[in-house]
Amino acid sequence: MAQGPLEVNGVPLSRLGKQIAEAAAALNAIGARFALIGGLALASHKVVRATQDVDLLVEAEKAGEIDAELERLGYRCLHRSADAANYGRGDERIDLLYASRPVARRLLAAAAASKTALGELRVVGAEGLIGFKLQGLVNDPRRTQDLEDIRALLRANRGTLDMGELREYFRLFDRESLLDELLREIR
């Protein structure tokens, strides 16, 4: 059974680290393309903060296989729709967003792979990650952490962000004025 690394240089991974490594190895083993989004993906873009959330963008076509694989790992499906799914195992969670729309498909296809302490991981680009954070914020304005993450990503990557792509995501949610406000803040 694929389980990913359990330790690095003799030091055991954190519980979250083991959870990610296990899930990544399992998805790789069934050939399901996935990419980190959410708080975990921040680390690839110069923002490291504590998180317990494992959020993955996955191929919509593999939803059934992924469901079976997560069940085999002991997760229980808490909710599943055409767009997203939530899985739980004790106090551990994995949330999936299915890449079925053109934007998400493009972001998943373009997600860069890197070898990390937690195994080989793919991570969406900073612009796309901000777009997903904005989507979370629009759907639940109480999620102030999403807004803080957007701020931190803009600040840490301001010299390299593709502003055209970024604006496209804010326009999609009719929040261009929010982008302008945030850019003024970090100027």
Partner: protein, 60 residues
Amino acid sequence: MNSFGKSAEPPFAAEGGLDAPVRRAEDPYRVLDDLMATVEALCPAWPQRGQFPEGAKILM
């Protein structure tokens, strides 16, 4: 006017500090995992996470 006489001793700061190379984190996930190992040792109570709301505006 400077009321302090010139010291023959070299400035303390010039010899101070530690000669240690800056630790460069090549893998941010190693840094994240180190952070999480520390956080988990504190046994935090994480906020309950909700499910995706029905009718959510998923446009991405």
